[in-house]
Symmetry: C2
Subunit: 598 residues, 2 copies
């Protein structure tokens, strides 16, 4: 069994939650009064223990033994069901939900820290509860009371799992082009027909029912995304007393075989193919969630949380890679430092080599920086929902909107880099399947793709978020960062703060230049560079935040925070300059390159 | 069968070899007088055909069916032996070798272009001839006439394969710490005992014999690398008539299971374990190559070529990824451009999206830039060996010494980025094993590790190459680059040339600053950044070279060269500024970070 200290750093979580984000202060709010530092610690202890004992041990086995289709059913290694039973029985599926559903009413920021243990220990197995919790949250926000009672309660108990079924083979990033049809019936239900692709947890025998949340178009509706509605399509229809009824017409059409994330069943599902005929008729039975044609808006509720969750997953996969590399670097001996190359002296642990330390420090700055970003955003979710004044809640909402594409994309870019560095630190050994880092690297490669590619995030940030409400989100981000830099005056971090202030000003002026171009093609041509620059700026800010929070600390841990903050300031923040220069020049290289020249 | 146009671009090879490097001019030299543009073209045609028909088709199958050890023997899928037989029977193993050995006496630059087809089509299977050819070249340079007759001739015929056995479980980057022992015998032979790790092609049934080139220490020799000698240790001893004799005591102790490169048998070999007792005595029989204690020098002959070869492999794996992504981007439709978002209009091929074009253009610039670098270096090998005057040969040698760490490390860093982008262009499909790009990505991850890690290359460049002969290599590189920039005067590339000139001056001043620090720990602390900066500078120069060579061309192909050159100038060259700034500041962040803080 891997040591928990190789999965995630409890010390760092304690620092981020308590020394930095002051989560204990949340216990003063009505929703969290039953909680205390002690209850938060207890659930983190529990998560660490269960992740270590029940999730991490089968991470490699699940990778080597992908889900298989046998007689139309999905066969998984038994450890997956065992782990998820322990998870649900410990009440962790219910962690953040209301007490009325048997939940703990944990703050989202604590819930995210709790769940981070499972993603880091075994991203494949943890996908089932991840999707189920998101599904349940969406229904709580937009479903009817009856839908909540019928579907959400069993999800929170862990008896049923949920999915989100958006993509189709011909429509991934372009959801406006889905063709799954939902035809209204006289009894108020709908009948769905169509094919959905990339559906994680789309079929399995882990739970007795699966609650699919499906995007489909009602004939006659408006074109594009404005004609998309959201439906509950359960694998088995549910009787009035909650017992399972007829098999719905949702059929497993195939399993996708990926480079990583192999523990998660990923499916192609056919709806209404006629394999089953619930109620004696054709079509998969679906129940409309909320109003017609508002499906994408509802789904984005789930999607925005899922995006921050994907970013957290990318970060913690990088984090566990970093921890494994650090352990290896402290125990593997090889060579000698430049100043003492006498072959008669013993070899040193490779952590003594500057270039290995560089890789570890970089990986640390990406992993811990991404974790700070994810938890900061989770804290904003709590502010958005429970802050005292409407103004505070609105500000939290606005800042969260701004940060969401970054919280998804930045860790999805740099978490894999941490795993890449972790392999490199291991040398040839890290490239073998005898060490876990190669799996982290393969698993993490999915994160820049699912829940909106990096390109989609970049258009969201530059095309929507920075211009929404007349640029209020961008202004708020700037104010929030400069409030931090102001606190750095007179400290050893004044230089870092000055560089950050300059970068914030640059972001504003570059944004103005881009939107002043008068041609959206030109404005958006280099949106990915904009996303990279904004992301590095934001994470640099969160490193300054961490440095200030660690300033009084005298332990090695606090020294480490300062070292990583210095690294990010001196090595990473300067990258933004070239990106801003390019953006400011309204560079047309990409735009002017024709397909035929490639 | 994949189309050859997805493996590599013959058009680009023609451009690089003929429109740029003028390989035809080599046919005026004594060694190549039998050759002409037509013979070069013919062998390139042959390579393209065999790579397409015999190597590419089993690339995925070999990945999915790794070598297995059955009854102590290595079992491979039959396609590997078939492909290698076709390869050898076509005379391609002999391509660059002397006519006296049945070779074609191809220039190295043509030989590298030929072999690029095989690496791009199937890097796993091509490793066997790659190692064998390197082994044969080393023996031709340093072996005795008898050794050449006995071992090299069967290698060139493809009847025997060769290996290079350097690493040991405890000694990879640090070769001074190998412990394999070679004890001299009365008959002039040696008996070897020890364990070698990561030996590619270390055992198999593809050929009747395997010629291991083994580094070992003769007891009583000097410590460290000065006490390393090189030995031929054949799997089967060879009788005077060339027939196979007794089994030598080289025993397959295990197979390594890697993330990629799975088609290449990678082994742990035990020498002199006592499983076999050739001549009735203990120890594996070895034959000294050249003189005692000069083994590492000889091995570096092979290693330097291998490093450029590894760089070529990394490049062409990125290249084939790029070509697959381009094909996908032209056929997959999704979404609409910003200016025309009407959902009633049909979706466009994704190559129409600016961000997809950015990814393709970046991948093109890395793949084609790396290929230019590899072929330029191969051309230098020809200059080094066949240029008319001793001075020209010496200059070529010096420049090649300078460029070797870059030719290994730069494509090993950026080739994998091309494959990463190729996955991203494919979206979710690229992450599945139904598309080949995920394999290219896994395969390519080895290249920054083997034949000297990126860290080892960075120390070679900054610690040795730029200071050798009083900095003559660095000066020559600078002169060579500025000779190119001078040719750009008055063209549309004058701005690119000016930026390159500035970067060259910066490289010189930063090098002086680093070596003026007076403390090798400080000088070398950030050597990886130095390697990255120098690499980007060199490839930018080769893009200017390509732009100038393409200047008169009016085809889409030539437009593409100009587009990629502009991309590299505007998007990539500016990265060097931040790197140079960091180096110039003699940044101590990494150096001052203690192990305990990580």
């Amino acid at each position: 069994m891997p040591s928990s200290s190789l999965i995630l750093s409890r010390r760092d979580l304690d620092f981020l939650l308590n020394e930095w984000l002051d989560v204990e202060s949340l216990t003063k709010r009505a929703r969290f009064t039953e909680h205390s530092r002690e209850t938060f610690d207890a659930v983190l202890d529990l998560a660490e223990q269960i992740a270590t004992e029940h999730f991490a041990p089968h991470n490699r086995k699940a990778d080597e033994n992908e889900p298989r289709m046998v007689d139309g059913k999905v066969q998984l290694i038994p450890e997956v069901a065992e782990a998820l039973t322990v998870f649900a029985e410990a009440g962790l599926m219910a962690g953040e939900f209301d007490e009325e559903f048997g939940g703990m009413q944990l703050p989202h920021v604590v819930g995210q820290a709790v769940f981070a243990w499972f993603k880091a220990a075994n991203v494949g197995t943890s996908a089932y509860p991840f999707l189920t919790m998101g599904n349940a949250r969406l229904l709580l926000a937009h479903g009817s009371r009856e839908q909540i009672d019928t579907y959400v309660a069993p999800e929170i108990e862990g008896r049923w799992f949920g999915t989100m079924a958006l993509s189709e083979p011909q429509a991934g990033s372009s959801l406006s082009d889905i063709t799954t049809k939902a035809v209204p019936q006289d009894d108020g239900t709908y009948r769905l027909t169509g094919n959905k692709m990339w559906i994680s947890g789309g079929d399995h025998e882990l739970t007795e029912n699966i609650v699919h949340l499906v995007l489909a178009k009602i004939p006659g509706g408006p074109p594009g995304v404005k004609g998309i509605s959201l439906f509950i399509v359960p694998k088995f229809l549910v009787n009035a007393d909650g017992s399972l009824g007829e098999r719905n017409d949702v059929v497993l059409a195939g399993l996708n075989h990926k480079m990583g994330y192999r523990g998660t069943t990923n499916t192609l599902l056919n709806f209404g193919e006629g394999v089953h005929t619930p109620g004696g008729r054709a079509g998969a039975v679906g129940y409309l969630v909320g109003e017609q044609h508002r499906g994408l808006t509802y789904m984005f509720h789930m999607m925005n949380e899922a995006r921050i969750g994907v970013g957290m997953g990318a970060t913690v996969l990088g984090y566990t890679g970093y921890l494994h590399a650090l352990e290896y670097a402290r125990t593997r001996t090889q060579g000698r430092p430049p100043a003492g190359k006498d072959p008669a002296t013993p070899m040193v642990p490779i952590v003594e080599h500057a270039d290995v330390r560089r890789m570890l420090l970089a990986a640390k700055s990406y992993a811990e920086g991404g974790l700070a970003l994810g938890l900061y955003c989770a804290r904003l979710v709590d502010e958005e929902q429970t802050a005292e004044t409407a103004d505070e809640r609105a500000r939290a909402h606005l800042l969260l909107e701004m940060l969401t594409p970054i919280a998804k994309a930045w860790p999805s870019q740099w978490g894999p880099v941490a795993d890449d560095l972790a392999i490199q630190v291991h040398g040839g050994y890290g490239y073998t399947r005898d060490y876990p880092v190669e799996q982290f690297y393969r698993d993490n490669r999915l994160n820049p793709i699912h829940e909106g590619t990096q390109g989609v995030q970049s258009l969201d940030l530059l095309g929507r978020k920075v211009v929404m409400q007349g640029g209020a989100g961008l202004a708020l981000l700037g104010e929030t960062i400069t409030a931090t830099t102001a606190r750095a005056a007179g400290t050893q971090w004044a230089g870092f703060a000055a560089d950050l202030d300059a970068a914030v000003a640059r972001l504003a002026s570059v944004t103005a230049t881009l939107w002043g171009a008068g041609d959206p093609d030109v404005t958006l041509a280099n949106s990915h560079v904009y996303l990279e620059a904004a992301g590095h700026l934001v994470v640099a800010w969160l490193w300054l935040e961490q440095a200030l929070a660690a300033e009084a600390g005298t332990t090695d841990f606090h020294e480490g925070k300062r070292a990583a903050a210095r690294y990010f300031w001196r090595w990473e923040l300067p990258r933004t300059r070239a990106w801003f220069d390019l953006l400011e020049s309204l560079d047309r290289t990409v735009l002017d390159t024709r397909d035929a020249w490639l």
